[in-house]
Amino acid sequence: MNLMEYQGKELFRRSGIPIPRSQHCTTPEAVGDFLAANPGEWVLKAQVLMGGRGKAGKIKFATGREQGIALAREIMATPMPPNRQNPKGEAINSLLVEEKLSIAKEAYCAITVDRATKRPVAMVSKYGGMEIEEVAHEHPESIAKFFIDTAIGYSPFIGRELAFASDLDPGYRKQLPAILASLYHLFFEYGAKLVEINPLALTTDGRVIASDAKVELDDDALFKHKKFAEWHAVLPLDEDEQLATEAGLGIRNFRRFGGTVGTMANGAGLAMATMDAVKFAGGEIANFLDVGGGANAERVRNCYELVVNHTPAKVFFINIFGGITRGDEVAKGIVEALRTTTSRKVPLVIRLTGTNEEQGRKILADAGMTPVETMDEGAAQAVRIAAGA
């Protein structure tokens, strides 16, 4: 779960990371009221998960009630412009009204999970305020990293080493170890996969302060903190995620691609390979769908309906290799699902093997369904049906 800036900053505040004074507002009028009560120049920042707010004109400076309302309306009037990953853009439902900092320097710091070392990695760069991928491309040597031994945890020397190794402005040095300590505490305490401060501002009066906040929480750890359920409710899911959730699947188990061959497999790896097989057989993929373990009738019916009701699928290719999932149970699920669904009917291509495959195949046969032998064969048949239908 990615948090919005204002939510990330709320965690920063609780963890003792310095943040600018701010007010989260959900209407232009609330922005106006706040600016009326608080003279001076403030920054209005659209609260969205997409990047590139500045370029999109979604960050503006305002003074006083009237300007505040006008600019807030302007920002909220249109969604964030679309990009490849967010083809519909993102609606702007709230703003963060924030103290305008007098910035002397901008740096970058973050802690995330490193697969290769199996450790948290803390990273600092003196190039802040730009996309870190850009920094990694143009000044790869500027990013200092420390792979944290979880048996030790964070200790202040790590902040000192990173400050010196990244050649940070000396103005940061005294405060960085404590800020990283708080950031690690947040990372660990709230089960984050990423905590990022970009930019970490050094103000002209010598404060070091988190000007932005990016936090990605581990969905598997959300149960540890009740607060997050509430936030989860206000975080916008994209349409595919929304549909997956409604179908009782994991948020990342379903994605649409516009083709005519609907797919479903058990396990993300097999589901990806199933897509690859359809593509290899010359078909266009309607969707990715990992049905997960325990494919009972209700689950299978939900998946079937998800695909036929929300994609242009002309065929539904079910590819099951039984491990935990038992072939007989899946077969029962398929038969029952097809019997009870009220959605439009498309031809099924079923491949079922692995645990209890004999029983499963018998159940399918008894219901008049003839499973194919291999994934390639299934893909080819599904592509033929989609092309001929």
Binding site: D114, M123, A136, A221, M272, A273, G354
Partner: protein, 293 residues
């Protein structure tokens, strides 16, 4: 010899009286695995439905049975604790089947249990065909032989193994390392074990998009396994770029993570890439022949 597991390995099951734990214990026993007992707190002294002794703690189980291996079927919030319990009781090899274990729990366990080999979490386990199986793999599709297999996926592994077996290519050990961001045993860890295993004459690496494990594996192969026939498969090549782990993750792996990067890395290491799982057996045979000639 197989790696990590053979027919003499003594295995306990943590969560043996739960639904999945009980079911798969039966299957593992049926496969020939030496399951010597199980653990369910509060049920110590009882027998499992398979007639195995149930203990209250892993320590009691290890003391009574001499077990060195464990297979963990407990709900996600308790998996980290189960792994720590295994470690402190002297277990040296742990397979964690559980899906959905918080990534910090896994990092904490992996960082504080030196000397214990952990497979998973969120994995199907491993099998040394014809000898023993720990986990949930469907044993009947495997066949004993000389191909070592490593995979990040569960069901895809079965797909690949099924093809190998049908093609007459038996397996020494097949390890499903799991798909989580942090796992106890990586491709490189397994490759190192295979490199020291006399039985393993060829290797299949089933990778997928994301992360840099495949690139690390390719680098290890280039350095240590040049003479071994190896074939790689990368799942998800037609998946468009998904929602990534975020900016910082992208840096660590540099330009790693894309299928192109992984394919390029394997090609550079001299490892042929299978376009489809079904292409693997033929490619592997070709590689074996060319290296033997």
């Amino acid at each position: 010899m197989s790696i990590y597991l053979d027919k003499n390995s003594k295995v306990i099951v943590q969560g043996i009286t739960g639904g999945e734990g009980s079911y798969h214990t039966g299957r593992m026993l049926a496969y020939g695995t030496q399951i010597v007992g199980g653990v369910t707190p509060g049920k110590g002294g009882q027998k499992s439905e398979h007639g195995l002794p149930v203990f209250n703690t892993v320590r009691e189980a290890v003391e009574a049975t001499g077990a060195t291996h464990t297979c963990i079927f407990v709900p996600p919030p308790f998996a980290g604790d189960a792994l720590f319990e295994a470690y402190e009781a002297g277990i040296s090899f742990a397979v964690c089947i559980t899906e959905g274990v918080p990534v910090h729990d896994v990092m904490s366990v992996v960082g504080a249990t030196p000397g214990m080999q952990i497979i998973g979490p969120n994995c199907p386990g491993l099998i040394s065909p014809g000898r023993a199986s720990i986990g949930i793999m469907p044993g009947h599709i495997f066949k004993q032989g000389n191909v070592g297999l490593i995979s990040r996926s569960g069901t895809l592994t079965y797909e690949v193994v099924d093809g190998l077996t049908r093609a007459g290519l038996g397996q020494s050990t097949c390890v499903g390392i799991g798909g989580d961001p942090i796992i106890g045993t990586t491709f490189v860890d397994c490759l190192r074990a295979f490199a020291n295993d006399e039985e393993t004459k060829a290797i299949v690496v089933c990778g997928e998009i994301g992360g840099s494990d495949e690139e690390d594996a390719a680098a290890f192969i280039a350095e240590h396994l040049r003479g071994t026939p190896i074939v790689a498969f990368i799942g998800g090549r037609n998946a468009p770029p998904g929602k990534s782990l975020g900016h910082a993750g992208a840096i660590i792996s540099g330009n790693f993570g894309t299928p192109e990067s992984k394919i390029a890395a394997f090609k550079q290491a001299g490892v042929p890439i299978a376009e489809r799982p079904s292409d693997i057996p033929a490619l592997l045979k070709k590689s074996i022949e060319s290296l033997n000639s």
